[in-house]
């Protein structure tokens, strides 16, 4: 809760510090000659109030679920978010699921064959992938898979309600672009945790029971090694949200990130404010969920409360 309060206040402060006047967004330049009209609009939007007063008003509405109206489109900010969230939400979920599905086997193989060529290859590739920003990967994927091979559309979005296959086609490349770094991070985290777990006594004792290596890896070693992964996935949600802004822009997806970017260019402060707070809320919720997942994964924590 305190996090959300701090985030909303800081955003409010920063948006206020942006050069440019919201009045430019509200009324056309020509109409600004009319000082009386400008003053009237200013009063109407409360632009002349001190910042703290405006923040207080906004907060009062926000806690009741009203994030105000966009000053450009006059539509409710919450409505815009609701309209956009399926795109960004799907993109993020697909990215996280895909990354985890890719990273866990890579990390497991790497840890199981610690120090071998395959481990060196995977670790080396992960190191390389870590240094590839999402937009570079995105451009590369567009070039190879969309333009050269023509497997996927380069830009645009098909809603899942229109066509499931079409939707999957449009989500693949953006999600892949975002996944590159995620896979690398997760694979390294899984590997290092698993390497430590495999040195535990209970792994030796599982081995001495005659269990197969695969069974030991997946049924004994993976769960104790997944706590860091869960933490990192939770923390990376923030990074991923940042990544979606760039990727949505690149692939022209009608998502939240694209909307945020547009709002910033248009000095649509209500929109910027609303989206930022919403994103912060998602982040807080996800990390609370992470704590819940801990309880599910590790029975020792359940005892602690």
């Amino acid at each position: 809760m305190a996090t959300l309060l701090a985030v909303s206040f800081l955003t409010f402060l920063l948006v206020n510090l942006l050069p440019g006047d919201a009045i430019n967004a509200l009324i056309p330049i020509e109409a600004q000659q009319d000082q009386e009209y400008v003053a009237q609009v200013r009063a109407e939007w409360g632009l002349d109030d001190p910042m703290l007063v405006r923040y207080g008003k906004w907060l009062g509405d926000a806690v009741r679920g009203d994030l105000g109206d966009s000053i450009v489109t006059s539509r409710a900010v919450s409505g815009e978010i609701a309209h956009r969230i399926p795109v960004t939400g799907e993109l993020m979920i697909v990215t996280v699921v895909f990354s985890v599905l890719m990273a866990v086997p890579l990390g497991v193989v790497s840890a199981y064959r610690e120090g071998s060529r395959i481990d060196q290859f995977i670790s080396g590739s992960a190191q390389f992938a870590l240094s590839v920003p999402g937009f570079v990967a995105g451009l590369l994927f567009i070039y190879v898979f969309a333009m050269k091979l023509g497997w996927f559309p380069a830009t645009g979005w098909t809603r899942i309600s229109n066509s499931i296959s079409g939707n999957l086609m449009t989500v693949t490349l953006p999600a892949l672009s975002l996944s590159v770094i995620e896979v690398a991070v997760y694979a390294r985290v899984v590997r290092s945790d698993l390497v430590a777990t495999l040195k535990e006594d209970y792994i030796l004792s599982a081995k001495s029971k005659g269990l197969k290596d695969g069974f030991i890896l997946f049924r004994h070693a993976l769960r104790p090694s997944s706590l860091t992964l869960i933490t990192v996935v939770g923390l990376n949600i923030g990074l991923l949200l940042g990544g979606t802004v760039v990727v949505e822009f690149l692939f022209a997806l009608p998502g939240l990130g694209k909307r945020l970017l547009d709002a910033i260019f248009q000095r649509d402060f209500m929109m910027v404010q609303g989206i930022t707070v919403f994103v912060a809320m998602v982040y807080v919720v996800v990390n609370t969920l992470v704590d819940v997942v801990y309880l599910v994964v590790d029975p020792r924590i359940r005892k602690a409360d």
């Binding site: 535990e200 004792s205 029971k209 269990l211 004994h220 104790p224 590790d298 029975p299």
Partner: protein, 362 residues
């Protein structure tokens, strides 16, 4: 039920580390009959755990090499494939580890840990496995087994966990059990219970057991034979009864003397063994114990004494100047006269001349 179950010949285990080759086990031979028990005693780093793991082929890592032979039920374990070993682990040979706090998976319920290998080696239905788990927990004297099956390891006490570990090891009725310091991590009061439990199970099932420990008091009265290890070699190997009645190796004697005794007055200085165990990358020439031995002579430093039978063929010893022999007495007096520190230390802590035969309470 007689017959040799395990025959280990000239076993060497070496770990290659950046600093060199650590020769953890250097030429150990012993044999174990079906249903018999062998105690392996030695201080930390004497190679007892590595020996047990080498025989079971449970040394992890790629930097380990084991040579020699370990014939188990007619075939050499050291030449078996990993898959063949896997079919033996758990079902034919099992191990109880030192620390029950770390040898059970903290995230897996007791029931699965007790029965998962049972289901692999013998085909069991879910309810049969559950019943088997209940029976096993009852067997190791865990009260209220139905509830305990659903528990996680952290919900059990140390003693209970070691009982669970024993249940795990016994599940497939192995013919050979390695107990690697099974009581070292436990409370003194619990130690007795666990050792008695192991002894009882061993007798009831007519299972051979190797009990690895650093505590002579643990093997006394609980094993048929005892092997004293020092620096990766066997220095004395005898029927336990005869070993305690007549300790011949200076190291065995020193181990015995370093057990605190309640019969002595309070504040009696404990007779620790002077010096430190040798560096196993470059073990000393001659007898490995010679740098710490109160009986050391020139010959001990020059020539490695072989493990040979004494007057009693079952009592084997690797020493040039055994305790209680005329050579030993002469060597000790000579060292004392020349002021050899370890001889003087023994003399001060034990004003009476070293005696043969120590009574043990078991």
């Amino acid at each position: 039920m007689a017959g040799t179950l395990l025959e280990v010949e000239n076993l060497h285990t070496t770990f290659t580390i950046p600093a060199g080759e650590v020769k953890a086990v250097r030429g150990v031979s012993f044999s174990l009959e079906r249903g018999r028990t062998l105690g392996i005693v030695g201080e930390s780093g004497s190679g007892k755990t590595v020996l047990a793991r080498s025989v079971m082929r449970l040394n992890l890592g790629t930097n380990v090499t084991t040579t020699g032979t370990a014939i188990f039920e007619g075939t050499d374990l050291l030449t078996r494939s990993p898959a063949e070993m896997r079919s033996l682990w758990g079902s034919e040979m099992a191990m109880v580890f030192q620390d029950p706090m770390t040898s059970l998976n903290p995230l897996v319920r007791v029931q699965r840990q007790v029965t998962e290998h049972l289901c692999r080696h013998i085909d069991l239905s879910r309810s049969e496995a559950r019943q088997a788990a209940v029976d096993l927990l009852k067997e190791v004297r865990i009260p209220d087994p139905e509830t305990r099956l659903r528990a996680f390891p952290h919900e059990l006490s140390g003693g209970m966990r070691q009982r669970v570990c024993i249940a795990v090891a016994l599940a497939c009725e192995p013919s050979l059990l390695f107990a690697d310091e099974p009581t070292t991590a436990l409370d003194v009061t619990v130690q007795h219970q666990i050792l008695n439990l192991l002894s009882r199970e061993q007798t009831d099932r007519d299972m051979a057991m190797v009990l690895v420990t650093h505590d002579l008091g643990v093997v006394a009265g609980r094993t048929d034979d005892t092997m004293v290890m020092y620096a990766g070699t066997v220095v004395e190997h005898a029927p336990t009864r005869s070993l305690f009645a007549d300790m011949r190796h200076p190291y065995s004697e020193a181990l015995m003397r370093s057990i605190p005794r309640t019969s002595l007055p309070s504040h009696t200085r404990l007779a620790a063994i002077t010096g430190r165990p040798p560096d196993l990358i470059a073990p000393p020439t001659g007898c490995a114990f010679s740098p710490r031995c109160p009986y050391v002579q020139d010959r001990c430093i020059e020539e490695t004494p072989p493990l040979v039978a004494t007057e009693d063929p079952a009592h084997r010893l690797a020493c040039w100047t055994p305790v209680g022999s005329p050579e030993g007495q002469a060597a000790f007096q000579k060292n004392l006269a020349s002021g050899l520190p370890q001889a003087v230390a023994v003399d001060i802590s034990n004003p009476r001349p070293p005696t043969r035969g120590v009574e043990v309470d078991s």
